[in-house]
């Protein structure tokens, strides 16, 4: 897949995800280890049921036929982990790119 297409898919996923979650929120695109799939981290202010929210957002991207992993974290978790080297959130923030924000 060429870069232009990839960028378009990422932007489309960002728009779909940010539209689906309550504001304020951010969507970060994170490079996948093998570069074979898309990975998105969605940051939501309140996150009472992470598992259910991840399933819901995965379905949204699935229906768009976007092959992606979606991880959802709360703002609290973000602030707790963002400076912990080696943590997933730290790495995501360092290597990822915010593609949508509300």
């Amino acid at each position: 897949m060429n870069t232009v297409t990839e960028k378009a898919i990422i932007e489309r996923a960002g728009r779909a995800l940010i539209k689906a979650v309550p504001s304020p929120a951010k969507v970060i695109s994170v490079p996948s280890p093998g570069g074979l799939e898309y990975r998105f981290v969605v940051i939501e202010q309140d996150l009472p049921e992470r598992h259910r929210e991840m399933v819901r957002l995965s379905r949204i991207l699935g229906e768009l036929l976007i092959p992606a992993d979606v991880v959802v974290v709360s703002e609290v978790e973000l602030n707790q982990e963002r400076f912990q080297k080696g943590s997933f959130i730290h790495d995501a923030l360092r290597s990822g790119e915010v593609i949508a924000e509300s």
Partner: protein, 548 residues
């Protein structure tokens, strides 16, 4: 027919292999699940991961089977949506399957997940996904478990070919044994009436035996076992296994149906005839309960559905055959009587009185018991025919309402032993299977017989159907080449052409051949009648045959 249609009909061996590998891997995840599900020292993230993996791999298996490209991803929702978009029905538990997605990435994301796994529910989801995938991909555990044993069996029995056919209630299947000794099974809804085409490729060394067949399993028992196991494993209507010996190229076969098992052996020059006889015994449908031999044939004494043919019976039959040849100048066909009137110019069954006299003569020759058995069955047959109602007669004479696999094997057998390049052999097989498909169609049964000159329906029309026929042949050769001495390609071309013939037969406006079981069609199958069709399939634009 578009290429897409063909793909749906028969995935390539590579796709089947890939699909089966996913299923095998999913099975491993399910084994872990089954072992650990009740152990509460094992965390939800471990069980959830394996449940998700089992489902993910089964979805990928079906995607591979349908030759749908997919990305490497753990999202069940994406994989399910992809299948949905291609018109593949998903299991009823799709929602529960999709809820497993987050468990795939638990470890990767520092155990951020906070879900609670429904330990009782995952077993049902895993089971449903397995049943769903296996129904589509047909990875019957029976076949994969015995793949290597098949190969050892073939070595032990000194076979050079093994073919297996199964007919399900509402679906057909394809079994393919690849060069590395693995068996792949595919269930194909579209080939429902066509049954199974099984071509076992016996090249390559088998792995260490999982099951030591030793010297306890004879060829006959082995083949009957394979046919019976295949039938049971797919809950099918009938299964047939045909094996060819490496040394003298004689054919051994075993047939299993719901009414019983039969087996036999045929010298290489008479496979067609024997198969036609099995055709008469085993494949006349009598209703949802299964198959029954509606017209008992004295050549095979079928007792409780089991074929019992002793050496003495064989001797007697050989004697009768030799006399038949001498008297009528040809081999007896499957509809010819074993005991015929000495005075008749054409083969005509003896009356009971004449048979009794024959038995008496047989006693003098020391074959009284055999003669009595055969005569008793002939008389029984006559009695049944005398008492048959007009409806029964009509039913007996009607074309097959269902298609059995035997004509296909005849085509395969003939085409496999033909001289010439693969294109030509595929073409012969395709033309004849087109005929079989046409004869099997309901529309054909309703149409009148005509005196049209050959090639005419039920064969393909050279002008109207030529492109389609050539496309079938070229596609078959491109897909399989000379693998398995070309039998794979021939089988594929046969399958697709049969389907095309069926479509043509449904709109039949009159045919040169009236009955599937009639003299002409049987003579065609025996190779006693031939039609000239295309001299050769058209070449690709390069001027070379497309696949070689």
């Amino acid at each position: 027919m578009t290429r897409c249609d063909q793909v749906r009909l028969l995935p390539s061996p590579e796709s089947q292999k890939k699909a089966h590998l996913f299923l095998q891997k999913a099975e491993q995840d399910e084994i872990v699940l089954a072992k650990l599900r009740g152990d509460f020292d094992v965390g939800d993230e471990i069980l959830g991961f394996h449940a998700q993996q089992a489902v993910e791999k089964r979805l990928k298996s079906v995607l591979a089977f349908h030759e749908i490209e997919f990305d490497r991803v753990h999202s069940i929702a994406y994989l399910a949506a992809l299948l949905d978009r291609h018109g593949v029905d998903l299991p009823a538990c799709r929602d529960q399957m999709e809820e497993l997605t987050p468990w795939a990435s638990s470890a990767r994301y520092d155990n951020l997940l906070d879900g609670i796994l429904d330990r009782d529910g995952i077993e049902g989801v895993a089971l449903a996904s397995r049943e769903w995938a296996e129904k589509i991909v047909g990875a019957m555990s029976w076949f994969s478990a015995y793949a290597n044993a098949f190969k050892h069996f073939a070595r032990y029995a000194e076979l050079d070919h093994l073919m297996l056919l199964v007919e399900g209630d509402d679906e057909g299947a394809v079994v393919h044994l690849t060069e590395d000794g693995s068996v792949w099974v595919s269930v194909l809804d579209q080939l429902a009436a066509f049954n199974l085409i099984g071509v076992v490729d016996l090249e390559g060394e088998p792995a260490e035996p999982l099951i030591d067949l030793g010297e306890y399993v004879t060829l006959e028992i082995g083949l009957v076992g394979i046919a019976d196991s295949a039938l049971q494993s797919v809950a099918g209507r009938q299964a047939l296994v045909v094996a060819r010996m490496a040394d003298d190229r004689s054919f051994h076969w075993a047939h299993a149906s719901r009414s019983g098992l039969t087996n036999g052996v045929s010298p290489p020059d008479s496979l067609s005839k024997l198969l036609l006889l099995i055709d008469g015994i085993a494949s006349e449908p009598v209703g949802p309960g299964g198959f029954e031999k509606t017209a008992p044939d004295v050549r095979f004494s079928v007792v409780d559905g089991v074929l019992r043919l002793t050496d003495l019976q064989v001797e007697l039959l050989k004697k009768q055959r030799d006399e038949f040849r001498e008297r009528f100048g040809r081999d007896p066909g499957p509809t010819d009587p074993v005991f015929w009137k000495r005075s008749a110019d054409e083969p005509e069954a003896m009356t009971p009185e004449e048979l009794a006299r024959e038995v008496a003569k047989g006693e003098e020759l020391g074959i009284s018991e055999i003669g009595k058995q055969l005569a008793a069955r002939e008389v029984l047959f006559e009695d049944q025919m005398e008492g048959a109602s007009e409806d029964d007669e009509e039913e007996k004479q009607s074309p097959y309402v269902e298609v059995n696999p035997l004509p296909l094997i005849l085509v395969l057998s003939n085409a496999a032993s033909m001289e010439g390049d693969l294109d030509a052999r595929c073409l012969v097989a395709a033309v004849h299977c087109w005929m079989e498909g046409h004869l099997a169609a309901e529309g054909h049964g309703e149409a009148a017989e005509t005196d049209a000159e050959m090639p005419a329906p039920p064969f393909p029309d050279p002008e109207a159907d030529g492109d389609r026929l050539n496309a079938i042949v070229l596609d078959a050769v491109a897909r399989f080449g000379y693998k398995g001495n070309g039998i794979d390609a021939i089988a594929y071309a046969s399958a697709i052409a049969w389907r095309a013939g069926l479509e043509a037969g449904e709109a039949c406006g009159g045919c040169a051949i009236g009955e599937s079981s009639g003299a002409i069609s049987r003579a065609m199958r025996r190779g006693e009648m031939r039609i000239e069709f295309f001299p050769a399939p058209r070449m690709a634009s390069s001027g070379q045959p497309a696949a070689e």
